[in-house]
């Protein structure tokens, strides 16, 4: 049963992504509103994959990726970045610091489900 952590400050996007993730059989979705909230949630519940936005208050998605990759406990969790930043340099930056995949908004739900399933299968 995969546990999916959705980190997104926009309630609309958070609900939309969570809604899509609940369609993966047996999945459990945890929601966080920013990077700090995500780290708190991670310390209390183990996640199998993290879906994070980049532009968030308090702690952005890139900082979250670097902290997760630097942690001995969480560094193997796959991270998918979902963002409005569609430029190649933004994608490269996120991948360089340890993101596993990069999906620019607006997202196609089917594409996101496929990507998450692929990352979970790799694990």
């Amino acid at each position: 049963m995969p546990t999916i952590l959705v980190v997104e400050d926009s309630p609309t996007m958070r609900q939309l992504i969570s809604f899509a993730m609940r369609r993966i059989p047996g999945s459990k979705v945890i929601e966080a509103t920013d990077g700090v909230d995500a780290l708190k949630k991670l310390s209390s519940e183990k996640a199998d994959i993290i879906l994070a936005d980049i532009n968030m208050p308090v702690m952005d998605g890139l900082k979250l990726v670097s902290l997760v990759r630097g942690s001995s406990e969480f560094r193997d969790i796959p991270i998918i970045i979902i963002t409005t930043e569609g430029a190649e340099e933004d994608r490269k930056k996120a991948m360089d610091i340890g993101a596993n995949a990069y999906l620019p908004k607006p997202i196609q739900t089917q594409e996101l489900i496929k990507l998450v399933t692929q990352q979970l299968d790799k694990g």
Partner: protein, 275 residues
């Protein structure tokens, strides 16, 4: 007497010889007949064997034909099943896509009607336009009936404040306000408009047939390649639901303010301190 007997013996011997010859001939005939009959039997046996093989071959041929027919029938059924499978797969993709679109619609409309806080409603409208539609530069404007102008109430990545007014009787926006129909420019989706009066896409905000404002989009995110079905559905949803949500939250905010004013006024009349 012996001499008399001699011719008789000779005669008998001759007769015997004749009989013997006949016997020989008869035997020869019998042998010939036997040979002929053996040959005939062999012929018949061969013919019978040939008939039997031919029957077997016919049986085999019939069997092969039956198997070929069966194979052809199975091939036809397989091809039909394959076509049906492809059809089902295509339908599944369409259903999944439709399901996703409906989920997007559900989430967007749920969020729009989840609050009566005017500022929050505007924030949700902006979120939908950015995250679900993929617009980068846009403005949400409401009609000021007295001034016959459109006044921006929220915008993204564009320098439009309360002082920026768009007349409602001119240009693309004027047409959208008059007709109540969405406008989509013929230009590429990657075009960026700098003129607030010339958006690439303009959506009327309608309560039933009454237009209360517009959403004017001036540019889209670079990664957006075109409009999909869900985009048009979202535009329709925004036209109706965003208008209702904005209008009702604004009314609620006004009534809340008026209620507070009246309550304070009554408290003042009664001489009680205001909260």
């Amino acid at each position: 007497m012996d001499k008399d007997k001699e011719p008789g013996i000779l005669k008998k011997a001759d007769e015997f010889l004749q009989i013997f010859k006949k016997g020989e001939e008869f035997t020869r005939d019998l042998l010939k007949e036997n040979e002929h009959l053996r040959f005939r039997i062999a012929e018949l046996e061969e013919a019978h064997a040939q008939d039997s093989n031919a029957a077997k071959i016919r049986n085999y041929e019939d069997h092969i034909r039956m198997l070929e027919d069966e194979t052809e029938s199975l091939k036809k059924r397989f091809r039909k099943a394959e076509a049906e499978n492809r059809d089902f797969a295509q339908k599944y993709v369409l259903v999944a896509e439709e399901n996703n679109n409906l989920a997007n619609m559900y989430v967007a409309s749920y969020q729009l009607h989840s609050t009566l806080d005017y500022e929050e409603v505007l924030k949700i409208v902006l979120e939908i336009i950015i995250n679900l539609i993929g617009a980068r530069k846009f403005s949400v404007m409401l009609i000021d009936k007295k001034l016959e102008e459109l006044e921006p109430i929220a915008s993204e990545d564009i320098d439009m404040d309360n002082t920026t007014k768009i007349p409602i009787d001119k240009g693309v926006i004027g047409e959208v306000v008059r007709e109540g129909e969405s406008y989509f420019s013929d230009e590429s989706i990657h075009t960026e408009s700098e003129d607030p009066a010339k958006p690439i896409v303009c959506i009327p905000l309608k309560i039933k047939e009454h237009v209360i404002g517009v959403i004017a989009i001036y540019s889209f995110l670079d990664q957006k390649t075109g409009f999909s079905d869900v985009d048009y559905e979202l535009f329709n949803l925004l036209a109706g639901h965003a208008a209702t949500a904005i209008f009702s939250s604004r009314l609620y905010n006004r009534s809340e303010k008026e209620f507070t004013t009246i309550r304070n006024f009554l408290a003042l009349l009664k001489g009680k301190p205001t909260q």
